[in-house]
């Protein structure tokens, strides 16, 4: 009677084979990079992978599971980056009796202030940890707030309109940050106090596991979330607005929740990003890096699959890095006519999007919709039913 | 002339028709009747390659039609008058006629359009009005005229009488019969006015839930009281003598 099991098992095997294969490719690339360039490049890649995995997972929640065309991912990332750039430093400054008002972000003050805060942070890992947690909480809160604000007008719009509106909102945020000096210094980047200063030269080596833990926690949370009834509602929404409505689902409410949670997570990603780079330059928070690349990661990895997202981010980050570090050796022919091979990053991005859409619409790891109950329970229920019917 | 063999089709993944076999004889009027949602429109859409054909064979005069794109079918002399959206509401009546005769040369199209306005004088009056501003009945006229524009060999008509006042509906039926008799056009007609359609039709198919439930002579379907009352809402009154007298209780309702 229970035939579900064997094909399910087969498909599972197929998936994990594909995952194993992609992982092997990734490891091969990493080994190659390690032996040709040393450990530092590996650390950089790993840090970027964690940050962008977080951002892309949030995108996956909104676009992959809920089917919202989130073309303004950068807005929430900006919210997190600005929050971390503007607030925790000021709080520390206020504690230490330093200027914490509008002048905190001015370029003549900021570059003297932040080293003082850093000195305090470097003195104790406990303070540093507290500072880090404060950053993350602030980022998540401001992200959630922005997500909620955006959801108000946007949620009732249709597919394309919604996507375009979000895109415009994201751009507008960037311009506000770029021009309004007192948030993050406008066109002169504001520095971010560094909670990893305690570790001195081991800074990157410590950042990797810490960020990884954060990413894993978010991964677990999202997995729980998408397998809960809420996740089922999201998918129902995505697959058919109409029937979801008929089933008595409050579409606006479910979508709003998805947007708020997604934005909070993306904002954490934005916060981590500026902690890692050590400064916030509004003009650098572009839709190209924080909306379009995450879309490509998600599409390559497989819409609706967080494992896929991770693989997609990993693979593409490595390719991007390789273009950057090998640009003069591999693309010398371009340099000879004065062309900067860095533009190939755009080509790669565009090509990935197109190839995935045309030839592998389900990505590396297609979405696998797990039953709501564990298979053992289902088996038991079925067996019980059979027993009753006999 | 048109043969449908073992047709399985539907929309996307949804299957609507199951193993359908239909034979439309040349210069005949074939009527398809059935309750709402039976798949009558889907049958016509499958022939026109608008719905998704999963398997089966459709041939027209011996030529296979499966997989031929819709606009090529029009060039082969098949014209289709859909149930809904059968005129271009934002174009004028004249432009509608010209679009319907898209493959004709300019002179031919003008001739033909003039001919149509003669057959349907209403259209002449409104020739420069937008089709969207026509009344329901006038629109049907236009739709039929559009179907005739390209000198079709085969016409697929989907529920022509819907929306029409009974008198006009009757006129349309007469018109359809004339198209067969005088112009020699092969017609496959889906109709909810089952009794009238079966009276003028030659062969008939009763479609229920995507399957053929009856096929044969059109008027003999009227002598199947069970099928008639169950699916077509035709009640048989105790007639005097041999020929059964019929009364229509409720056109096109899904009685069970």
């Amino acid at each position: 009677m229970i035939t579900n099991e064997s094909p399910g098992g087969k498909i599972k095997g197929l998936f994990s084979n594909r995952i194993v294969f992609v992982l092997a490719v990734i490891l091969a690339f990493l080994a190659f990079l390690y032996f040709s360039r040393g450990i530092s490049i590996i650390l950089t890649i790993l840090i970027q992978v964690t940050i962008f995995s977080i951002i892309t997972m949030s995108l996956n929640l909104e676009s992959g599971y809920a089917g919202i065309p989130q073309f303004g991912r950068v807005a929430a990332v900006i919210a997190g980056a600005f929050a971390v750039g503007a607030i925790p430093g000021r709080i520390m400054a206020a504690f230490m009796g330093l200027p914490a008002g509008a002048e905190y972000a001015s370029d003549t003050v900021n570059f003297k202030l932040v080293p003082e805060i850093n000195a305090l942070l470097a003195s104790s890992w406990l303070v540093s940890l507290g500072f880090l947690i404060m950053c993350l909480v602030l980022a998540a809160l401001s992200g959630a707030l922005i997500g909620w604000l955006i959801s108000r007008p946007a949620i009732r719009l249709k597919e394309g309109y919604l996507g375009i509106s979000m895109l415009a909102i994201g751009d507008f945020f960037m311009w506000v940050g770029h021009n309004w000096n007192i948030i993050v210094g406008g066109s002169t980047p504001v520095n971010v106090p560094d909670p990893f200063r305690v570790f001195g030269t081991d800074r990157f080596t410590v950042i990797v596991p810490v960020f990884f833990v954060i990413a894993i926690l978010i991964f677990i949370y999202l997995n729980k979330l998408t397998q809960s009834p809420f996740g089922r509602n999201l998918r129902m929404l995505r697959d058919n607005d109409l029937s979801a409505n008929a089933a008595g689902l409050n579409i606006v409410k479910v979508r709003t929740q998805a947007l708020v949670i997604g934005a909070a997570i993306a904002a954490i990603g934005g916060g981590l990003y500026v902690i890692y780079t050590g400064s916030v330059a509004a003009i650098g928070l572009t839709r190209l890096t924080f909306t379009f690349w995450p879309w490509a990661y998600m599409m390559l990895g497989g819409i609706g699959s967080n494992i896929g997202v991770f693989l997609g981010v990993f693979l593409l980050t490595i390719l991007r890095t390789m273009i950057i570090i090998f640009r003069s050796t591999w693309f010398g022919f371009l340099l000879q006519v004065g062309i900067d091979p860095l533009w190939l990053e755009y080509t790669l991005l565009g090509a990935v999007i197109i190839i995935v859409i045309l030839f592998m619409p389900h990505g590396l790891v297609p979405e696998k919709i797990a039953p709501m109950l564990p298979s053992k329970r289902i088996k038991k229920v079925l067996a019980d039913r059979q027993a009753v019917s006999k | 002339m048109l043969t449908v063999k073992n047709l399985n089709s539907g929309y996307g993944k949804l299957q609507v028709l199951y193993d359908l076999n239909i034979e439309v004889p040349e210069k005949g009027l074939t009527v398809v009747v059935g309750p709402n949602g039976a798949g009558k429109t889907t049958l016509l859409c499958s022939i026109m390659n608008i719905a998704t054909v999963f398997s089966g064979e459709i041939t027209f005069g011996g030529e296979p039609l499966t997989g031929v794109v819709t606009h090529k079918l029009a060039q082969k002399g098949i014209s289709y008058v859909p149930q809904m959206g059968n005129v271009f509401a934002e174009l004028t009546v004249l432009d509608n006629l010209h679009m319907a005769g898209y493959m004709l040369s300019k002179a031919e199209a003008n001739d033909k359009a003039a001919q149509m306005t003669e057959i349907f004088p209403v259209l002449k009056k409104f020739i420069h009005r937008l089709a969207g501003t026509l009344s329901g009945g006038e629109r049907r006229m236009l739709a039929i005229a559009m179907g005739l524009m390209k000198n079709p060999k085969l016409m697929l008509l989907d529920e022509l009488s819907t929306d029409l006042a009974p008198i006009i509906a009757e006129r349309v039926m007469v018109e359809v019969a004339r198209m067969r008799d005088e112009l020699g056009i092969t017609i496959l007609m889906v109709e909810q006015m089952a009794r009238r359609a079966l009276e003028i039709g030659d062969t008939a198919y009763l479609l229920v839930s995507g399957e053929v439930r009856y096929s044969g002579q059109a008027d003999s379907l009227l002598h199947e009281p069970e099928l008639c009352s169950m699916y077509l809402g035709i009640k048989q009154t105790a007639g005097k003598g041999g020929s059964a007298k019929l009364s229509v209780s409720d056109e096109g309702s899904e009685n069970s």
Partner: protein, 312 residues
Amino acid sequence: MAPWMSSGLIYASGLAMTAGSITLLYIVTRTFNFAVASMATIGFIVVYTGVSLYGGLPYQYYPFVLIIGAITGVICYYGLNRPLLYRKAAETTLMMSTLGYDLILLSLIQMYSDYLTYTFKLFPRRVTMSVFDFELYGESAATFILPITAIACLTILHFFLTKTKFGIAMRATIENPTLAGASGINSDRVYLVSWIISGSMAALGGSFMAMAMTGTPVMGMVTIPLMFAGAILGGLGNIYGGILGGMVIGLTEYAGVYFLAKQFGPWILGYRMGIPLFIMAATLLVFPRGLSGIPLGKIIKNLFGQKRGASA
């Protein structure tokens, strides 16, 4: 003429063309075309290459702009849009695919710009195109030529859509693709032509905009939200609405910035993008279907007391 008016008019004409291009493609193929961004930049690059390598006026290179714009459109249709349309892809997929195409075009534009710099010592990264213009009645000639060119293009487009058989077939396909197909109209041809028209419109629009703003390889990428805003403001229902929407967005941006900066100081310049977006949001609140949703016809008919036809 006030200083904002001249450049505002030029800019708005360009934005109108790009918004019209987006709208046309959307109503025919349901594709929100991101690639309009790079197509517009290509328009600028072509004119810039022309005037700086071969001299002359910007206007004489417009035919090339039209042709190259059309070619980029055709490539996108055959390479990308057509297979997806046959597959009945979702709106978001169609939109994403044009984004991929846009990024590839962008990278090519950037490489070409590098090449121009290296080989010909030209700097397409910060260009004031208006220096190539001549003066007419104390204004730059573009102030008159470009709006007139835009209107001429529109008139031609209008004529094409209402008077030619293929144009009418295009409108028929837009309204009812099924019936159009059953009538023997080849929708493939219709899609192709709409890509050609919309590609050339976008490129021409970009070359217009470059006469008012600083020409850069990312100018399309930066202004694409405004192009979309224009199209959305126009209601995405008909091309004329889109063109009107682009015009309104362009003019309000320039006028708004000018007057607000006079009122509150030059810091407002940094937020100029907010003005058109605000206009868009406000309009959509009042008329959810954009400018073309305003029942102008009805209003006029009511004004003149005509009796209405039996509308469907």
